[in-house]
């Protein structure tokens, strides 16, 4: 499995396309407009569920029912406070933030370390390690949830958020490892030599020379972990069954549905609170999302 460098974005290579002759250009222009006019409504329908969700979170229930419109007549901000306080979305939000930040920190550091040695150093057993890593890619999550549940209980962590953090961090993060391995592999050899001349040991070379150079890989790895942890459902669901106060947003909104079947505006507000952070991060850092996903095929 070879691994991509993060340097090549997925964006089509616009720069290499030379200006076409004028006649073709006018023809292409008409085509572009037609294609855009077909795609735009399709795309708007595509994201309609999210627009509807945000709109409904500011409506009254009677205004939502049986209507496909998006804009609220008179914004009902109290839907948010009802979701935040009465449906406990507030605590779930902070639980999710805590789990996400801790898991990302653990996963990014550990995968950068193992990726660094896989990418740059020979050592006995390396081949076997890589084979095992790739094999775990094909393991369905449902296959291991029962022992994970058992293990967290035996470790005495079933009553704390750390149980969830550990279980999330422990899943094989093969893509991140391969991403780091590929990135560190292509950094020039001279760096090690320069660092050695300066008297830096193994740890210091990694920490002060290599890791700061790997910022693009770190960003991609963080985004990959963020997408996985923020959206995780099965692990937090199973681990919080006896402790509703430890729920994450995904589990909280799911339970909200079971408990307040008719409170659509509250549910829409809760869903908006849960989805907005990840959507904003996505819109700001799209490149890394796409890069992370693309890495799976390039490998």
């Amino acid at each position: 499995m070879t691994v991509p460098t993060t340097s090549a974005p997925v964006e089509p290579a616009t720069a290499t396309v030379t200006a076409p002759p004028l006649r073709r250009k006018r023809h292409g222009w008409r085509r572009e407009i037609i294609v855009s006019l077909i795609l735009l409504p399709i795309c708007l329908i595509w994201i309609y569920p999210f627009l509807w969700m945000v709109g409904s979170s500011l409506k009254t229930d009677t205004e939502i029912f049986g209507s496909m419109s998006i804009l609220p007549e008179d914004p009902q901000w109290e839907n948010y406070s009802r979701a935040w306080y009465e449906a406990n979305i507030g605590p779930y939000f902070w639980n999710t933030i805590f789990i996400t930040v801790a898991t990302i920190a653990i996963v990014t550091i550990t995968t950068a370390m193992i990726g660094y040695v896989i990418g740059r150093y020979p050592f006995p057993g390396k081949k076997a390690l890589v084979v095992v890593l790739i094999a775990t890619l094909f393991l369905p999550e449902g296959y291991t949830i029962i022992p994970v549940f058992d293990l967290i209980n035996q470790l005495g962590l079933s009553g704390s958020l750390w149980g969830i953090i550990l279980a999330e961090s422990g899943g094989a993060h093969v893509i991140q490892i391969m991403l780091f391995a590929g990135y560190f592999r292509q950094l020039p050899r001279e760096l090690d030599e320069a660092a050695r001349i300066d008297g830096a040991g193994f740890v210091r070379t990694f920490w002060t020379v290599m890791l700061p150079l790997a910022k693009p890989a770190i960003a991609t790895a963080i985004i990959l972990s963020l997408m996985r942890v923020w959206n995780s459902f099965l692990i937090p669901l199973v681990l919080t069954l006896p402790q509703p106060e430890l729920r994450t947003l995904a589990v909280g909104v799911y339970s909200f549905q079971g408990e307040n079947m008719t409170d659509w505006s509250g549910m829409a507000a809760a869903s908006t609170i849960a989805l907005l952070p990840i959507v904003i991060v996505f819109l700001l850092l799209q490149r890394y999302f796409v890069e992370g996903v693309a890495g799976a095929v390039r490998g």
Partner: protein, 325 residues
């Protein structure tokens, strides 16, 4: 720390050294992989081994002792109608969702790969948006949207005159699974689209230019340039999409919880119900047997596909080599 010597860099380590020396020289490598290896061993490898062990026991998860029952659980799986129905549904779900997703995604990718389309980044963002959102929450929202009484989907279809009376997308046992599969395709299509875009971008632009100069139309260009160039990627993309389509739990659990009348109970949901959601005593031992049986089936299927991928790629290379000669 500073007194330890540097581990030999990337290549060219002396081959005359003994294994012990090589292990010692690489000591920092092992230290660096330790955290990942320990975490992976605890939460990926141990659970694999452990689920085999649990599958041979009768255990509710409440008592601490697991009673060994040999192959009893597996015998029960073989004759379990509920399991085989779930198995069949999982197969049908995958068979419907995977091709639909791949074809839609390829279409979108081909259209968006056109560099002269200035708004393509905006369109790509919109198609990709569902992928980044929390699946379980999307499931909750979609169950509201598909609601037969007050949901906007029925309102839209009624207004347009496509239907006369509301459709119960998720409550009708004959329809529910296809509704869920449709949402699944919508949710993950953007992912496959990015895969296809990666594949399409490996095709050199000059080839298209040359084809245009030769007077080939778009369809001919795609058939004779795009298709053969992206075939090696296609097999990998199909494999990844197939494996992804088996991860159905968050969406289906949030939308229907396996209902109505088990019409959408896929294997993952059946395992969850046996182990955690049962109104009767949880059966973690039996649920593990189902999970192991299903996991091994999927693994065999995946390996067969992976083998097919290698064969196809090897054949592709032979063909290309032949052409060059």
């Amino acid at each position: 720390m500073a007194t330890l010597r540097q581990v030999g860099p990337l290549t060219g380590s002396g081959s005359a050294t003994t294994l012990r020396e090589r292990l010692w020289n690489a000591r920092w490598c092992y230290v660096f992989m330790l955290p990942s290896v320990v975490l992976g061993a605890m939460f990926t490898l141990y659970p694999m081994v452990s689920s085999w062990y649990i599958s041979f026991t009768d255990w509710s998860g409440i008592e601490s002792e697991k009673r060994f029952v040999g192959l009893d659980n597996y015998r029960e799986v073989a004759g379990d109608d509920a399991f085989w129905s779930a198995f069949g549904r999982t197969f049908a779900f995958t068979a419907a969702a995977v091709p639909a997703m791949l074809i839609l995604a390829l279409l979108a990718a081909v259209v968006l790969n056109d560099a002269s389309l200035r708004m393509r980044a905006v369109f790509r963002t919109m198609f990709f948006l569902p992928v980044v959102t929390t699946t379980a929450i999307v499931g909750v929202v979609m169950s509201l949207i598909m609601n037969p009484f007050d949901g906007p989907l029925n309102a839209a279809l009624l207004n347009l005159g496509i239907i006369d009376q509301p459709v119960d997308f998720l409550g009708d046992p004959d329809l529910a699974m296809w509704s869920v599969a449709g949402v699944f395709v919508w949710k993950w299509m953007g992912m496959s689209m990015i895969y296809w875009l990666v594949a399409l971008q490996t095709v050199p632009q000059e080839l298209y230019e040359a084809a245009r100069v030769d007077g080939a139309n778009r369809w001919q260009t795609h058939r004779s340039i795009t298709v053969p160039m992206i075939t090696p990627f296609a097999v990998v993309i199909i494999l990844i999409t197939f494996v992804g389509a088996l991860q159905t739990f968050p969406l289906v659990q949030a939308m229907t919880q396996g209902g109505p009348a088990f019409a959408t109970e896929l294997v993952e949901l059946y395992i969850y119900r046996l182990a955690f959601a049962a109104d009767y005593t949880p059966r973690l031992g039996y649920a593990s047997a189902v999970a192991v049986f299903f996991g091994v089936t999927v693994l065999i299927f995946t390996l067969a596909q992976a083998w097919g991928v290698r064969r196809a790629n090897a054949m592709q290379k032979d063909v290309k080599g032949g052409e060059r000669r």
